[in-house]
């Protein structure tokens, strides 16, 4: 009878996606769960490689046992098809506009149908991956975020890592990035990164939070701390602070790394005291010898799939809809309603792409999204506490954003030679010249004039920065002049979410994957008692 069931495709098996899969299964759906990694877990529950055969994987993360139970339950479920090492490289509207809902057409209204999902399975960037196509009834996007890093002179030197990279290397491979490491940027994420580095035997000299104590205090009011307790984050954060103190690692607020130097690799960082707007206090610079630097200024949601699906975005700062006409749009997230439904038919979103609030919040959003996507009753009593937790998660996200904003004066760190686009080597001077040109500051013009954003990463790293700097240099938000036949340019619009080789594109898609249960995911052992 599987054919009659609702088929939910879930993209991303992090905290949000895994919870969505579980809830959709519980609601009776058939689920295809897709992740580009070999194992579920996402960034938070990053698993060690199977080949490490780790005896005590729980040593590295909070809430491992609950995660492990959920992972086994979902992957071993007879209605779940798990597609590891599988990347969604495109979403496609199944019916072009105009073909929708033709009269007399039997079956569900076409306009409510989720887009077609294009998959590539096999080793990352391999030449012989297998293509599949899914036509699900509903699609849950839970693709997460990546570190945002503001540029500063020297950030392109080897040995400068995103905080997430250091975390991934320590947690996922057991590689420590250095002996004299500075962790800098803004946000509570700096704490688990520093703690992971210490756990891995690295030396951490200091953790620098760019925002001033006053900004932090205003953002994290007492009520916010209670909110943090409700979302399950307070204990975790407190444990990190205790760990840092035990290792005598100073946590300094109102100080940032504004430069890095070295011959062929980072050897020294320059930090400075910052005012609330992130302008440098003159004379406060000091340099520190390091062998690695880990930086993070928050997270950028991975928006290429939501945009391909046609989901509307909102501006994080104003909360107003971002209709794509503002090329300066920087902090944008997917708009979802009370049921985690996006504005695109049949498409739901959960986790970091709807707002940055950490793993517990991602999990409850996933639960709600998966349940509703599967056709579960939106008024089910069990959902009441899920919705409450989701709302607390959203409130937490707002506090987090308020306590750890990016100060508007950060471009003061830049010099004309500072690299802005790492791929193309575009520097700040080139960007300024392009914006000053009479052709104006439209995103497409800037791109073509400087090549910023046209390199291999397609603006994933520099996109928000270029958009912000262009807007500032051009005196306010630049309105993209419409180009006939083209959608408005946004920093995140990439028709291909992932590179695909021409040979792979030419090969016909194989039949959709079916449930099969890899031997490395045994069903939950009955001995394992619930906590």
């Amino acid at each position: 009878m599987t054919l009659c069931r609702v088929h939910v495709a879930v993209v991303g098996a992090g905290p949000a996606g895994l919870a969505a899969a579980e809830a959709a299964l519980r609601a009776g759906a058939r689920v295809t769960l897709v992740d580009s990694a070999e194992n579920p877990g996402g960034q938070y529950h990053r698993m060690l490689p199977d080949a490490y055969a780790a005896a005590r994987p729980d040593q590295l993360q909070h809430g491992w046992r609950a995660f492990d139970r959920r992972r086994r339950r979902v992957l071993a479920h007879p209605r779940c098809t798990w597609c590891p090492e599988t990347v969604v490289w495109a979403l496609e509207h199944r019916f072009p506009e105009g073909e929708l809902d033709s009269p007399g057409d039997p079956g569900p209204p076409r306009s409510s149908q989720a887009p077609r999902v294009h998959l590539l399975s096999g080793p990352p960037d391999g030449g012989a991956r297998v293509r599949h196509v899914l036509d699900p009834d509903a699609l849950v996007l839970a693709v997460g975020a990546h570190d945002r890093v503001l540029p500063f002179p020297g950030w392109e030197l080897p040995g400068v890592f995103t905080a997430g990279a250091a975390q991934a290397l320590a947690k996922g491979e057991r590689v420590a990035v250095g002996d004299r490491v500075v962790v800098a940027g803004t946000g509570p994420f700096l704490l688990p990164v520093a703690v992971s580095l210490l756990e891995a035997g690295a030396g951490v000299l200091e953790v620098l939070e760019a925002n001033t104590p006053a900004t932090l205090a205003r953002g994290w009011s007492r009520r916010a701390w209670e909110l943090a307790a409700l979302t399950g984050k307070a204990g975790e954060l407190r444990a990190y602070v205790v760990d840092l103190a035990r290792h005598r690692v100073p946590y300094r607020c109102g100080r940032a790394v504004v430069g890095a130097r070295g011959e062929g690799r980072v050897e020294e960082v320059v930090s400075a005291r910052l005012r609330a707007d992130w302008s440098v206090v003159p004379g406060s610079e000091r340099s520190t010898a390091v062998d690695a630097l880990c930086v993070s200024h928050g997270f950028s949601p991975q928006l290429e799939l939501p945009l391909a699906a046609g989901c509307a975005l909102r501006d994080a700062a104003s909360g107003r809809p971002a209709d794509g006409e503002r090329a300066s749009a920087v902090d944008q997230f997917v708009v979802v309603d009370d049921d985690q439904r996006t504005t695109a038919p049949g498409v739901f979103a959960a986790g970091e792409i709807t707002g940055i609030a950490g793993a517990p919040a991602a999990r409850v959003e996933g639960t709600l999204a998966g349940w509703i996507a599967a056709g579960g009753d939106p008024a089910a009593p069990a959902l009441r506490s899920v919705r409450r937790a989701r709302d607390q998660g959203r409130a937490f996200a707002r506090r987090l954003a308020r306590a750890h904003p990016i100060g508007p004066a950060w471009p003061g760190w830049l010099s004309p030679g500072t690299v802005i686009c790492r791929c193309e080597g575009t520097d700040y001077g080139a960007l300024r010249r392009a914006v000053a040109s009479p052709a104006g500051a439209a995103a497409r013009v800037t791109k073509l004039a400087t090549r910023a954003g046209l390199g291999p990463c397609q603006g994933r790293i520099c996109g928000p920065t270029v958009a912000e700097l262009t807007a500032r240099l051009g005196n306010g938000p630049t309105v993209e002049r419409p180009v006939a036949g083209l959608p408005p340019a946004t920093p995140h619009h990439r028709p291909l979410a992932h590179p695909i080789r021409l040979g792979e594109l030419a090969a016909p898609p194989q039949p959709p994957p079916q449930p099969d249960h890899p031997s490395h995911v045994p069903p939950t052992p009955t001995k394992e008692t619930e906590r």
Binding site: L60, V160, E173, A176, G178, E199, P499
Partner: protein, 111 residues
């Protein structure tokens, strides 16, 4: 110091090590099964292996497949993100560089 792997007997997670060997531009490097190519390179003391358009060195930056700073060739497959691809015993890796606007293969660019 350069990045290093936590020694197996000091690792709280209690892992095992199955050795593997890859070559990078002809030079043999030892790693362990499960490591990414980037992990093997880093743990072997190599912080950078690619050159950007200006010739400046690049290695791992984002660590999760977003920035494309870590690209290498694996056998005859170009543009493989070293931070995403697990190393396999016997992998033949060549480093890449970008010159001008194009992607040159390592053999083309040797003067």
């Amino acid at each position: 110091m350069s990045p290093r792997r936590i020694p197996v007997d000091a690792d709280a997670v209690g892992r095992r090590e199955v050795p593997l060997r890859i070559t990078v531009d002809g030079e043999p490097l030892d790693g362990i099964a499960g490591q990414t190519i980037a992990g093997v390179l880093l743990a072997a003391g190599r912080l950078a292996w690619r050159r950007g358009p200006s010739g400046a060195p690049r290695g791992v930056f984002c660590g999760i497949g977003v920035c494309f700073d870590c690209l290498v060739s694996v056998g005859d497959e170009r543009d493989v993100r070293a931070c995403r691809r697990r190393a396999r015993d016997g992998d033949v890796i060549t480093t890449q560089r970008r010159v001008g606007n194009g992607f040159n293969s390592p053999s083309e660019e040797e003067e």
